[in-house]
Amino acid sequence: MSTNAKDLPKDLQNPLKRARGLGSAQFGVSHWWTQRVTAVGLILLGLWFVILVLGLLHADYATARATVAKPWNAVLLVAFIVTAFWHAVLGLQVVIEDYVHTRWKEIFLMVAIKFLAVLSVLAGALAVLRIALGA
């Protein structure tokens, strides 16, 4: 027995699920889109970062510090850190959603990676600022 497309329900969500308010979180499109925008940013920032590090291969401490302290390098480094951790959180979120099926563990991990990412970004930005401002 074949099913015609017109016979399919328009809404595939279970009515009970809808009634409980456990439908989609409505963040899917912005998650997908932000992941792509940060990806494009990281193509540029990532290549720039590799070149920066290769240029510092044999630099002594003072040279490395002076290089990071240059305004453009400092700005791009902070941009790189923010974008990298943002993109990492979005990606890890998908992995956790796919493989962690115990609800409390899933939520714990999601919150934990966000806390860790925010702290890392703040610590990284502060480090770059200290270097750039000579503090």
């Binding site: 990532g46 290769l54 291969l57 401490y61 490395a64 990071v68 850190i81 990298a84 990492a88 890392s120």
Partner: protein, 131 residues
């Protein structure tokens, strides 16, 4: 989860290995590796801000055999995720979905990422060792 007994779709070991599967799995694996690698970048910056002793300690760790292996791994992870990420962005734009193109671009991601890793490490090693 799993309060209902739904039929499961066949899992990985059922399928014959194809390069498109490998690129997809590697994209995830390298993504997770790079998430850990960003913490390494953070350590480098924090040690640079903290002072010369802390930075030298960081350089000793990254220059150690284990550190070098990790650095090579992260270099390849970065280039692979970069190449395959660009491939995914092209596919998101709707291009490259014919099976032949899909397979060819999979191989391209793998080969270009290995070539870039070799080039970078050839430069690092001929420039006289890491760190």
């Amino acid at each position: 989860m799993a309060q209902t007994q739904r039929p499961l779709s066949p899992h990985l070991q059922i399928y014959k290995w194809q390069v498109q599967m490998v690129t997809s799995i590697l994209h995830r694996a390298t993504g997770i590796a790079l998430a850990v690698g960003t913490l390494m970048v953070l350590w480098g910056l924090l040690s640079l801000a903290a002072g010369e002793d802390a930075f030298n300690q960081f350089k000793v760790c990254t220059g150690s055999p284990l550190g070098m292996i990790l650095m090579i791994g992260w270099t390849w992870s970065l280039f692979y995720h970069l190449c395959n990420g660009i491939r995914h962005l092209v596919q998101d734009a709707g291009a490259g979905y014919a099976i032949a193109q899909f397979v060819r671009s999979s191989w391209l991601s793998i080969i270009v990422s290995i070539v870039l890793t070799l080039l970078v490490w050839a430069y690092v090693l001929t420039a006289g060792g890491a760190a």
